[in-house]
């Protein structure tokens, strides 16, 4: 059997559960624990059925087992508020944390843009921005890699059914965190993020639109090539990531219209917003795990 790095999943909601299903297929990480706060949650039931150890006592139910179970990486899919406490406790045990909440305590991670860099810097906590950020910041970065972007704006539309209570209660965190990462990771001088929830039945696929204003006249062929190459990179971990229209060039405006279909692991395929977060987090964990395996840290 190939060696794997043991991981824990904290948060048994939509994101944690979808992530578990994906992690069970991973070549180099092994999900061992699922941590929840509700004994009756669907996520914990599924984790038990999949053979994971579970606790409904939150992070404190996991901490005594970290050393014995050799947990090296933890995914936190709770909330921004809870994440701060979780992170402190996990850090004391030397666990690397992949944060899927909008807490953004560690550096933002958008895999095709800056994962290599973060892995080489041995970060102990990385933040996965937001679903809309994972879907759009690669495109902003693809444009800013060609030439200066004065302004980057994204509009993420997700189906009402795929927006959990955490997203709804803290919708400002989405717009703030995404806008910040459009600047710091995407490379735009100024970032703006908009999120729309659509209640249509049957639910719509996640849609993401990127509008960038370049500083000078856009180099159309170079930008188009850069965007297409970036889309291929994202497709390696999110196969349902698709270019619907564009890039449209209109003066200094460059617009790209995207759709994200999920794999249908936990929620149906319309919930591409869920998949792009969990797939990005998994990819991040796998890169970190590979580095640990190379260094023999799993012993």
């Amino acid at each position: 059997m190939t060696e794997k790095i043991n991981v824990a999943l904290i948060g048994s909601g939509n994101i944690g559960t979808d992530l578990m299903i994906k992690a069970l297929r991973s070549q180099n990480i092994n999900p061992v624990w699922m941590v929840g706060i509700d004994e009756n949650s669907d996520g914990l039931a599924r984790a038990k059925a999949a053979g994971l150890k579970t606790t409904a006592k939150g992070i404190d139910g996991l901490l005594p087992h970290i050393e014995a179970d050799q947990i090296k990486i933890a995914f936190d899919a709770t909330s921004a508020y809870v994440h701060a406490q979780n992170n402190e406790k996990l850090a004391r045990h030397g666990v690397t944390v992949i944060d899927l909440t909008p807490a953004a305590m560690g550096p933002f991670c958008v895999p095709p843009v800056n994962l290599d860099e973060l892995v080489s810097e041995n970060e102990s906590n990385v933040n996965m921005v937001t679903c809309g950020g994972q879907a759009t910041i690669p495109i902003v970065a693809a444009i800013s890699q060609v030439q200066g972007v004065a302004y980057g704006e994204i509009i993420a539309t997700i189906s009402s059914k795929s927006a959990g209570p955490g997203t709804r209660k803290n919708i400002d965190e989405f717009t703030r965190t995404t806008a910040n990462a459009i600047e710091s990771v995407g490379g735009a001088k100024k970032g703006k993020a908009i999120i729309v929830l659509n209640p249509a039945e049957p639910p719509l696929m996640m849609r993401d639109t990127v509008h960038c204003l370049t500083e000078d006249e856009p180099n159309q062929s170079a930008i188009t090539a850069s965007i297409l190459a970036m889309i291929e990179q994202v497709q390696t971990y999110v196969p349902g990531y698709r270019l619907k229209n564009g890039p449209v060039f209109d003066g200094n405006r460059v617009s790209v219209f995207l759709e994200v279909a999920g794999l249908g692991d936990y929620l149906p395929t319309y919930a591409g917003n869920l998949d792009i977060m969990t797939a990005s987090a998994l990819r991040t964990a796998e890169m970190l795990a590979q580095k640990m395996l190379n260094k023999g840290e799993n012993k």
Partner: protein
């Protein structure tokens, strides 16, 4: 219909919803001139700033001629009796914008959400109430929910601290019975002290009739705009509504003739083209499409050589909601591809 003695609070939309019809290009001078005239005419509330509310400045919705801060700073100190309101759509604007508006002395904050998604407004409504502001929960596209389901969403907003709930006909789709059943359900199911409002669009030429129905069913506040300056075929023409209800013996604080003068002498000359029920705005009302999509669809139609009414019909079929302006160019591109 007997409205004798009923008190109706008027809320003018020219300088917010009307921003859609003016591509958000209303100047500070125009804003000050019109708001002071509305104030003088006795209109109680005036909404200002970007058409898509605070923080609406964007490629998606358009950049306004001035910032929200500049509009607020110019208008609020000039008001004698009118209270200034702002719109805040969570997902576009944040509590930071709300705090900013509060610091400029805004009186009313209207927190707007797609009518099925009231739970995204909790942060904003509760902060607005904490700050002591007149706090409105604004249920957009209210035609998309049946009365009892709408009431459930309204109760959420009420529970967060909203002291007034609006049934908002963003698409100008509702017929009079639709308005009556929704306002009636809100009045019966919300706390007696919670006020109720109706925001109409004139896309089916029912702005005045629907607003009268709303008042008869228990609405306290009515949105409109002088000369109808608003998205789509405009809002309920406020000077017309005011004249009608005055004749019916209802009480507003606005002067019938002064408001007519504002509409005729200030608002009409501001219009880039006559705001009337033309084919595209009738399509909005007929198909239940968000009114502010109108000019964006007309621009995309011109750019890609496809019919604007087909763009709008497709947006209706896709069940798009407020905020999804990005889908207009996407649909136009798809139609242009299909025509090749």
């Amino acid at each position: 219909m007997n409205l004798k003695g009923q008190k109706i609070q008027l809320h003018d939309m020219c300088l917010r919803d009307g921003m859609h019809a003016k591509r958000h290009q209303i100047s500070i001078d125009e804003m000050v001139r019109l708001s002071t005239a509305l104030d003088d005419a006795g209109v109680e509330r005036i909404e200002i700033a970007h058409g898509d509310g605070l923080g609406g400045a964007s490629v998606n919705y358009g950049f306004a001629a001035h910032t929200d801060e500049e509009y607020l700073a110019a208008v609020i100190p000039k008001m004698k009796q009118a209270k200034v309101s702002v719109l805040l759509i969570p997902g576009i604007g944040t509590v930071d914008h709300l705090r900013m508006a509060h610091s400029y002395g805004v009186h009313t904050v209207r927190v707007a959400a797609q009518c099925t998604e009231a739970d995204v407004t909790e942060q904003h409504i509760s902060l607005s109430r904490q700050l002591g502001l007149d706090t409105v929960g604004f249920l957009m596209m209210s035609h998309m929910l049946e009365p009892q389901a709408l009431l459930k969403q309204a109760r959420l907003m009420e529970s967060y601290g909203a002291n007034c709930i609006y049934c908002t006909d963003s698409a100008g789709y509702m017929l009079q019975d639709d308005v009556h059943s929704r306002i009636e359900a809100l009045r019966a199911g919300l706390k007696p002290e919670t006020e109720i409002g109706f925001h109409g669009h004139h896309n089916m030429a029912l702005g005045v009739a629907n607003s009268l129905t709303a008042v008869a069913a228990g609405a306290d506040r009515i949105d409109g705009s002088a000369a109808g300056l608003g998205a789509g075929a405009g809002n309920t023409p406020l000077e017309v509504f005011n004249a009608v209800v005055t004749r019916m013996g209802a009480q507003t604080k606005a002067d019938v003739f002064k408001l007519m003068a504002v509409a005729e002498e200030i608002v009409v000359p501001m219009m880039e083209k006559p705001i009337r029920v033309d084919r595209d705005s009738l399509v909005l009302g007929y198909a239940g499409v968000y009114s502010s999509f109108l000019l964006h669809a007309q621009r995309a139609a011109k750019k890609y050589g496809v019919p604007s009414e087909e763009i709008l019909m497709e947006l209706g079929r896709m069940k798009t909601v407020g905020g999804q302006e990005d889908m207009i160019e996407d649909v136009a591109l798809n139609l242009a591809k299909a025509m090749k």
